[in-house]
Amino acid sequence: MARVPSVVLALLSASLLALFVLPIVAIATYVPFSQILAVASDPAVEASLEFTLLASGIALALAVFLGVPLGYVLARRRFPGHALVESVVTLPVVLPHLVAGLALLFLFAPEAPLGALADRMGFPVVSTIWGVVLVMAYVGGAYTVLATAEAFRAIDPELLETARTLGASRGDVFLSVTFPLAFRGILTGALLTWARSVSEIGGLLILAYTVVPSPPYNGPVTQPITVYVYNLYALGDTSAALAVSSLLILVSFALFLAVRLLEARGRMPWRGRVLVP
C-alpha cells in the first residue's frame, strides 16, 4: 500500500487540532484577564462555580464507586447477557442529552414512584443538587466504566497468576497488581467523567435549570455553571458569558493539569499491597 506523505498527515492532523484549539484562543484573546478575575469574585458566579464543582465531585465519586466494579466485571467475568450489559453502558454516550434529561425527569418527578421514594428518603431530585448529580452521573458515568473495563482487560492474566504463586491471595493480587496496573486507565476514565459532567447542559436544562438549596448544598439559589453561561448569553450579555466561560476553562484546565502532573511525577506509588497516598 502506498505510504501517505507526512505532509498530508500533518495537514490533516493540524486541521483538527486547530478546530479544537482556536475557539479557546478566540475566547482568550477576546476576554482580558482582568475581566476573568472580576467575574471570579462575583458572588453569583462564585456560587454557581462552587455548586458545579461540588455536584460534579459527587457525580464523579458515584461514577467511580459504582463504575469501577462494573468495569471490572465486564472485563474479567463472562456471564449471560454480557454483550447486552456492555451495550447498555454505552447508551448514555449515544443518547441526546435533552432526551436523557426528559427521561430522568419522567423517572424522578415527585409524582413518579421513584421520585416520590427519593423525596421520602431525603434526596429530592428536581431542581436540587441531586438532580444535577443524577444528570452528571448519567451522561459521564459511562466513560469511567468503559475506560476501567479497557484498563482491566489490558492486564496480562499471567501477571495475576504469577502473583498468586508468589504467595498473594486473590485480594492481595487485586490490591497489589490488578488495581495499580489499571489505575492509569481508571484515572483517565474518571477525568473524562468529570469533564463530561462539568460541561453538561442538555439534561440540566430539563431537570435542574435552577437549583434550590438542599443538603449537601446549602448555598444560595443558583444554576449549574453551564446553564449560568447559557443564561447570560440568552439575555444578551455575551461579554459576561465569555468571561465566565474563560474562568471555567481555566479551572478545568488547572484540575486536569494537576492530576496529570501528579501522575507523571509518580506521586501515587504502590508499596506492597497498599497505595501510599
Binding site: E158, L159, E161, T162, R164, G167, A168
Partner: protein, 349 residues
C-alpha cells in the same frame, strides 16, 4: 514411593477441550525433571496444574510428602517462572524481587531482595523497570523473585527459549548454581529437549496431552519408547509399521522381516535406521541391498555428505563419505546399501 521431593501421581489436568495426563513423575531435591514436547503437547498446562492455577481432574501432587492438590496456589510453596516471566511492569527490578516478601509483611524484605539481586549479578539494575532490562536480566530478576518467596520446588516454563546462545549458557550455569545451593526439586519445560539435556536428571515426554515416556537421559537415548519420542530426540529414519505399509516392494518386505540385534522382531513400534548405516553407492559389509533409490536433496555434514533419498516411497537420510567425491545431484538415481547392524527395532538399541 519417595516422600522427599516433588511427586506427580497420576495427575490429570483439563483446560477447555485439552486434557493432559495422567502423568506420573518424581523429582528429588537438587534434581531436574525436564518436561519436553512440541507446541500444544500440554507442557504449560501440566505446570499450571501442578501450581494449582488449573484444577486437576484426578491424581495428586505431593511435595516432601505433603499433599498439595487441595491447597490454593498461594499456599503450595511452589516457585513458578512462566515463559513470559510475568515481571510486574509497575515495579522496578528490586520491587519485583521484594514483592513476595512484602506480601508476607516481612520486615527484612529490602535487605533480602538486595541480597538476591547481588547473588544473581543484577544489583546494578535494581532501579530499572522490566521494559528497561535485557532478556537475560529479566530472567535473573524473575528467578530472584521466585526464590524470594522461599519456595520448596521451582517450576520453569521454557527458561531458555528466548535467549541467545551465550545468554542460554549463562542461564544454564545460573540454574545449576540454584540446584547446588538451594537443592530444590526443579521442573523445567522445554519444546527443545537439547536445551534440557545439560540440566535434566529425568525426562518426561508429552505428546497431545499424553505422557509417552519418563526416564533418565541414558534411558531415553538408549531406548526411546515411541516413534514420537525417537523423532523428538532427533533420531532419523524412524519407520513405523503404518509408514512401511504391508508388502509394497522388495525393500519394504525386506525391512519388515528384520529384527533387532537383541531379537526384538519388527513390526515392533518402529524401526530405526542409523544414517551412518545407510550408504549410497559404495560397497562394504552389508546386510541388505543394493536398493534402487532417488536423491531428493543433499547437504554437507561434519563427516561427509548427508543425502535424503527415496526408496519405494520411503524417505531416508544417508551418510556418504567425502572421499567418494561430490554426491549425486537431486533427481539422480542411485543404489543404497544398508550396512550390517544399521537396522534395529525401537526399544532394542
Amino acid at each position: 514411593m519417595t516422600t522427599d521431593g516433588l511427586e506427580i501421581d497420576g495427575l490429570v489436568v483439563q483446560v477447555g477441550e485439552t486434557r493432559v495426563g495422567p502423568v506420573h513423575a518424581e523429582v528429588a531435591p537438587g534434581q531436574v525433571l525436564v518436561v519436553a514436547g512440541p507446541s500444544g503437547a500440554g507442557k504449560t498446562t501440566l505446570l499450571r496444574g501442578i501450581c494449582g492455577l488449573l484444577p486437576s481432574i484426578s491424581g495428586e501432587v505431593r511435595l516432601h510428602g505433603r499433599r498439595l492438590t487441595d491447597l490454593p496456589t498461594e499456599d503450595r510453596g511452589l516457585g513458578y517462572v512462566p515463559q513470559s516471566l510475568a515481571l510486574f511492569p509497575h515495579r522496578n527490578a528490586a520491587a519485583n524481587v521484594r514483592y513476595p516478601l512484602e506480601i508476607r509483611d516481612r520486615e527484612d524484605a529490602g535487605p533480602r531482595a538486595e541480597a538476591l539481586l547481588q547473588r544473581f549479578g543484577i544489583a546494578h539494575r535494581a532501579a530499572a523497570h522490566p521494559a528497561q532490562l535485557s532478556g537475560g536480566e529479566r530472567q535473573r530478576v524473575a528467578l530472584a523473585r521466585a526464590l524470594a518467596a522461599e519456595p520448596t520446588a521451582l517450576l520453569f516454563d521454557e527458561p531458555l527459549s528466548a535467549l541467545d546462545l551465550l545468554a542460554r549458557d549463562d542461564m544454564v550455569e545460573l540454574l545449576r548454581g540454584v540446584l547446588e545451593r538451594d537443592s530444590l526439586p526443579m521442573v523445567l519445560v522445554t519444546h527443545d529437549p537439547m536445551t534440557g539435556f545439560p540440566l535434566g536428571d529425568r525426562f518426561l515426554f508429552l505428546e497431545g496431552g499424553e505422557a509417552r515416556q519418563v526416564g533418565s537421559l541414558s534411558d531415553v537415548l538408549q531406548g526411546p519408547s515411541t516413534p514420537f519420542v525417537a523423532r523428538f530426540l532427533g533420531f532419523e529414519n524412524v519407520l513405523t509399521p503404518g509408514e512401511l505399509g504391508a508388502a509394497a516392494g522388495p525393500f519394504r518386505r525386506w525391512l519388515s522381516s528384520r529384527s533387532g540385534p537383541r531379537g526384538v522382531a519388527f513390526p515392533a513400534d518402529a524401526l530405526l535406521l542409523e544414517p551412518q548405516g545407510v550408504d549410497a553407492g559404495t560397497a562394504g559389509p552389508v546386510d541388505g541391498g543394493p536398493w534402487p533409490a532417488r536423491v531428493r536433496r543433499w547437504r554437507v555434514s561434519s563427516k561427509g555428505y548427508r543425502l535424503n533419498v527415496e526408496v519405494e516411497g520411503i524417505r531416508l537420510e544417508a551418510e556418504v563419505a567425502r572421499e567418494g567425491g561430490a554426491p549425486a545431484s537431486p533427481g539422480r538415481d542411485v543404489h543404497i546399501l544398508l550396512r550390517e547392524g544399521a537396522v534395529c527395532a525401537l526399544g532394542d538399541r
